[in-house]
């Protein structure tokens, strides 16, 4: 299915931020904004909620810690008890380095994996580049066009009156 987008091209960060605010206030839904570099405060004006990835990190870390402690206690205490350095079989201080490492490892890996899944990053992912200049020196604001429901003339005016230097249309094969 093809989707049609209107692209507003901006060349100034501050103009862009103000434009996003005005366009959202006018009731137009912005599909996405592409920028050559991270812009401070753009998440807030776009209304993007904070990532919940830290929660994943916490539980990943908790799982890693539990796994590491279980593994060491089971191995050293029950499966194959060994006396090392005259310490008890289950000697917690000596387990701490491994526990720490596995906590960090699980926490980091769970974040990466969950991030890939949530953002649908898979080998077959095809990315549509709306405008190649968004990797160079322009900001590109994409607004999805609903056939019949979107007033193209009004949208064009809205974008231009908010400082867009160009307004293009692009059809994307999904």
């Amino acid at each position: 299915m093809n989707k049609k987008f209107v692209l507003g091209i901006y060349d100034d960060e501050d103009v862009l931020l103000a434009a996003i605010e005005n366009i959202r206030a006018a009731g137009t839904k912005i599909y996405d904004v592409f920028s050559p570099y991270p812009v401070h405060g753009i998440d807030d004006v776009l209304g993007i909620k904070r990532s919940r990835l830290p929660i994943v990190a916490f539980f990943g870390g908790l799982a890693g810690m539990s796994f590491a402690l279980w593994m060491q206690i089971w191995m050293m205490g029950f499966d194959w008890p060994m006396i090392i350095g005259g310490k008890p079989h289950i000697a917690l201080p000596s387990f701490i380095p491994v526990t720490f490492e596995l906590t960090v490892l699980f926490s980091a890996f769970s974040m990466v994996i969950v991030f890939f899944i949530v953002s649908n990053m898979k080998p077959s992912l095809k990315v549509n580049v709306f405008d190649k200049r968004s990797t160079d020196d322009k900001f590109v604001m994409a607004i999805e066009v609903k056939e019949g429901a979107t007033d193209m003339e009004a949208l064009n005016n809205l974008l231009r009156s908010n400082g867009a230097i160009e307004v293009n249309e692009k059809e994307v094969v999904k």
């Binding site: 350095g85 005259g86 201080p93 000596s94 701490i96 380095p97």
Partner: protein, 422 residues
Amino acid sequence: MTEERLIISRKTNNKFFLMIAVGVILLIAGIIFMAAGGGADHGEGHGEAAAAGHEAASWTKRLFVNLWLNNVYFTGIALIGTFFVAVQYVSYAGWSVLVNRVALALSYFLPIGGVVMLLVFLFGGHDIFHWTHDYLYDLNDERYDPIIAGKSPYLNTAFFLIRMVLYFALWIWFSMWLRKESMNEDLNGSTNYYHKSIRISAVFLVIFGITSSTAAWDWVLSIDTHWFSTMFGWYVFASWWVSGLAAITLTVIILKQNGYLKMVNANHLHDLGKFVFAFSIFWTYIWFSQFLLYWYANMPEEAIYFIERLGGNGGHYKWIFFFNLIINFVLPFLVLMTRDSKRQMIMLKIVMIAILIGHWFDFYLMMMPGTLRTDAGIGFIEIGTALIFLGVFLLAFTKGLSKASLVPVNHPFLEESVHHHV
């Protein structure tokens, strides 16, 4: 940018004086109790039996050890103020400009700390440091100690005093120099002061790296003269650094709650909170690195340090040993983990107070087992001395804070700090 002047009202100053007065009263009460009852006020009497082997510590000894403990703790916090600013200069940091003046003012306590430390050592050195006794070095004396005698090229009273004076002279000199540059920048406004401050800071950091480590050996490690730890300089630095950061953060919050530092917002608090969070973990890392090796190797002359703090001394210090880890690691780690807790003043405030108390206990645990053994306690003398030091520290600190604008108006990175966003 507008200047902001802190005004310490007579009422606030009176509170500090009241704090000192209450401390003095508690201290005198504690001394009277001890002199009359022979240590009746310490703890619930456990460990008394273990002390049968030696004479109970006198109140003068307990007083000197307490003075030393608080002085090392508060001097460290004062020193960290200058260290913090120096790190910010050298790393070209922009975010911290709005809180730099708070850190700079911490070092106003340093001269007081220096004088108190010198006096306590001169009058109470024998009570605190075993190695100061001459008979340890006398071959003809039966108490001759070859290990301590072997350390005498470094650990002798004259060199110790020279080092102490040198540390304080350098620290105070560099603190004053950085402050002077910063104040002149306010008046004349040129980037020359900024560039000069970077050079001063770089030299100071090198000096700090050496002196903070050797000061830790001198003032804390040498209490347990036979014991040694190559981690110790780091350990004391980590403890000072976390307490100093907590003191800066707490001051910023209190100033903000009283209507000062208007341009400081949640983003600055967030970064300060991250600092405390990170270095609480760093402190734990150092603590554990020191503990693990001695626990694992289990050599008598090394493990004795931890035995004295765990099962030894009749288990007198066991609860502080674990309390130390809970309040200085578990609490900040779990509470400061979320973003919100670092951006809300109330949570941050609670944790900062806990950390400041926690690291006082950390120093308590470093000093008491080697000096007072089973006679240590948390009584009127401890609380009284701590209150007196806190009162004096706050007087010096707030006096320093009110001397200049809270906002360094001509700092080249001020604008960046105002718009700081994380």
